[in-house]
C-alpha cells in the first residue's frame, strides 16, 4: 500500500506524523536535516551540552516537546532524515538521500516545507560577515557561535529583537538594532497583537531587555549600506555610521512553496504575506486531490500555528479517507488558527513591509547573489517593455541561479513592479523548477 508522506520535520510535519500515528496510520516523514525539529526549534548536535532553556528561552518547553515527539516517532514510522525531495509530481516524489536517488509513491501528501528569511538586499550584502537573521540564530543555536565579534541586527519582524536578545544573552557584543519600522507602527498594531498576549509580552520583553542592557535600538532606521572590502567593516543608515564586523538582517519570512508549485497547486496572491501562496482550505487541503499543506510553507503564521496546522492537515487526510476523527478537536484547532491569523495582521502592522525599498534601491546594488545581477540590469529589462517576472528572469538571469530565487526573487519582483508601475501582485510569480535544489553529478540510482 502506498504511504501517506509528509515532507518536512519541523513543528508542522512532526505534529502531522504524530496525529497520523495516533490514529493507527504509519506515515513516511522525509526531512532534509540530520535531526528533525525544523529551523525555529533547530536542534544542536547530540554531543552539545546546553540546556533547552539556554537554547530556546521562553519556548524551551515547546521545543523540548517537539523534539521528544520526534524521538518517539522516529523508530515507529518510516523516518528519512538527510533526504532532499527535489522533485514532486502527481503521486510521486523524487528524493536524494546521502548521494543515493530514491523515489516514493504516495497515497496522500502533506507538504510542510517551512520558510526562509525574506531578504531585501542592501549594498554590501554579499560580503563575508553578512547573514540572514535566521542564519545568525542557527549559528548560535546549532553551533554555539556568533557570526562575528561585534554584530548589528537590522531589518524588521519579530525575529529581529529575538535574535538580538539571544545574542546579547549568550555573551555576544550587539552593537545596535536597526528596526526599519517606526515606533508608531507598533503602537497602531497593539489592538490586534493583544489577541495573543503571551507572544506580545515576549516581544515587548526582548525590546525592553535590550534597552535595559545599554544596546542601542533605533526605530524607523533603514540600513542603507554595509561597508567593507573583504569582510564587513561597518554599516550606514541615514546620516549615521557604525563600526561592526557582522550584520544579520531580514524583513520577516517567506514561504518555501516550490514543491506545491511542482505539484500543480493553485496559487493566489496573499496581501498579508505579500506573496503568492498555494491555496488551501481551513483544513489545509490544496487544490490538488490528496495534497495537503501545513505550516509556514503555506503562509507565515509561526511555530505554534504550524503545529496546529500539521495536526489539522493530518486529520483532514484521515477524514477524507473516511476515518473517524474528533470533530470537537477539529473545531478547536480551526478556532485557534483563526485567532493566530488575526495576530498575524497585527504583526504586519507592527513590522510593515518597507514599500519604499524598490524605489530607493541604487542601480549598482547586486540583487541576485548567484548570477550577480544588479538592480540596474533588471530595470533595463523592464525599460525594454518586460514586466512579467519569469520573462525578466529569461532576459537577465535574475533568480535563475542555484538558489532558484529564494534569496532575490521577492526583491526582484518588487523592482519590476516599481519600475513598470504595476502593483506587486501584477508582475507574476517566479515558477519553481525541478530539481528545486542543486543535485550532484554521479547520483547512485537504485534499480
Amino acid at each position: 500500500m502506498k504511504p501517506i508522506v509528509i515532507v518536512g520535520a519541523g513543528p508542522a510535519g512532526i505534529s502531522a506524523a504524530r496525529t497520523l500515528l495516533d490514529h493507527g496510520v504509519t506515515p513516511c516523514l522525509v526531512d532534509e536535516s540530520l535531526r528533525g525539529g525544523g529551523q525555529i526549534y533547530r536542534r544542536q548536535p547530540a554531543n552539545f551540552q546546553r540546556s533547552a532553556k539556554q537554547l530556546y528561552g521562553f519556548d524551551a518547553s515547546k521545543a523540548e516537546a517537539v523534539h521528544r515527539t520526534m524521538d518517539e516517532l522516529a523508530p515507529l514510522i518510516d523516518y528519512r532524515p538527510q533526504t532532499l525531495v527535489w522533485n514532486a509530481e502527481d503521486g510521486r516524489l523524487d528524493m536524494l538521500n546521502n548521494g543515493r536517488a530514491e523515489s516514493v509513491e504516495y497515497a496522500q501528501l502533506i507538504v510542510a516545507t517551512g520558510a526562509t528569511d525574506r531578504i531585501l538586499p542592501v549594498p554590501g550584502w554579499t560580503l563575508p560577515g553578512v547573514y540572514s537573521l535566521g542564519a545568525a540564530q542557527i549559528a548560535l543555536k546549532y553551533q554555539g557561535c556568533a557570526i562575528g565579534e561585534r554584530v548589528a541586527f537590522c531589518g524588521s519582524g519579530p525575529l529581529l529583537y529575538l535574535v538580538a536578545y539571544q545574542y546579547a544573552k549568550a555573551g555576544a557584543k550587539v552593537v545596535a538594532v536597526l528596526d526599519s519600522a517606526p515606533f508608531s507602527a507598533q503602537c497602531r498594531a497593539l489592538p490586534a497583537l493583544l489577541g495573543q498576549p503571551a507572544t506580545l509580552a515576549k516581544g515587548v520583553y526582548y525590546r525592553a531587555w535590550l534597552t535595559a542592557h545599554g544596546i542601542p535600538v533605533h526605530q524607523g532606521a533603514t540600513l542603507t549600506q554595509i561597508d567593507g572590502e573583504q569582510r564587513v567593516k561597518g554599516i550606514r543608515w541615514g546620516e549615521h555610521t557604525l563600526d561592526c564586523d557582522a550584520v544579520a538582517f531580514a524583513h520577516a519570512l517567506r514561504s518555501e512553496t516550490q514543491l506545491a508549485d511542482l505539484l500543480g497547486c493553485e496559487f493566489a496572491w496573499n496581501s498579508l504575506n505579500r506573496a503568492w501562496l498555494p491555496q488551501r482550505d481551513s483544513a489545509g487541503r490544496s487544490s490538488i486531490l490528496g495534497v495537503y499543506l501545513a505550516g509556514d510553507g503555506a503562509g507565515i503564521m509561526g511555530a505554534d500555528a504550524a503545529q496546529m496546522a500539521g495536526e489539522r492537515a493530518a486529520l483532514a487526510v484521515l477524514e477524507d479517507a473516511g476515518m473517524a476523527t474528533d470533530h470537537r478537536r477539529i473545531a478547536v484547532l480551526e478556532q485557534q488558527l483563526a485567532s493566530i491569523q488575526r495576530f498575524r495582521h497585527g504583526l504586519e502592522t507592527a513590522f510593515p513591509f518597507p514599500e519604499h525599498w524598490a524605489a530607493q534601491a541604487p542601480d549598482q546594488l547586486m540583487l541576485c547573489r548567484c548570477e550577480e545581477v544588479s538592480v540596474g540590469e533588471v530595470r533595463a529589462v523592464v525599460d525594454e517593455g518586460h514586466w512579467e517576472i519569469n520573462r525578466v528572469k529569461a532576459h537577465c538571469r535574475v533568480g535563475m541561479g542555484r538558489c532558484q530565487g529564494r534569496m532575490c526573487g521577492l526583491a526582484a519582483a518588487e523592482i519590476v513592479a516599481e519600475r513598470s508601475g504595476r502593483g506587486i501582485e501584477h508582475v507574476g510569480r517566479l515558477r519553481g523548477q525541478a530539481p528545486i535544489k542543486p543535485l550532484p553529478f554521479g547520483v547512485e540510482v537504485q534499480p
Binding site: S33, N47, K437
Partner: protein, 96 residues
C-alpha cells in the same frame, strides 16, 4: 583571522582537517562552515566576479557556502558535519 566567534560548547574534542592544504582544527559537532569560518574569513569565490563569499542563510537554501571535499564532492558547508582528516578546499571563483 576568523569570521565566527565561538561563544559556547568549546569543551568538545578537536577534529583535525586541512583547508586548502593547510592543517586546521575544528571541534566535534562543527559543520564545515563553522570549522572553516572559526579559522578563516570565507568559503568560496563567486561565479562571475570571484568575490569572497561566506554563506548566507545557514539553512541549506542559498547555496552560497559550497566547498569541495577531497573525493571531489561539492557540498553545502552549512549542512555537512566535519569529519576527522577531511580535506576541504575553497573554490576561488571566476571573473566574468
Amino acid at each position: 583571522m576568523a569570521l565566527f566567534k565561538r561563544l559556547a560548547e568549546t569543551q568538545r574534542p578537536t577534529v583535525a582537517f586541512t583547508l586548502d592544504g593547510q592543517p586546521a582544527t575544528g571541534l566535534l559537532g562543527d559543520t564545515l562552515l563553522t570549522a572553516v569560518l572559526t579559522c578563516a574569513e570565507h568559503l568560496r569565490g563567486s561565479d562571475f566576479s570571484a568575490e569572497r563569499r561566506a554563506g548566507f542563510c545557514l539553512m541549506g537554501a542559498c547555496q552560497d557556502c559550497w566547498v569541495r571535499l577531497q573525493d571531489g564532492r561539492r557540498v553545502r558547508a552549512c549542512a555537512t558535519l566535519l569529519e576527522e582528516g577531511q580535506a576541504i578546499s575553497r573554490d576561488p571563483g571566476r571573473q566574468a
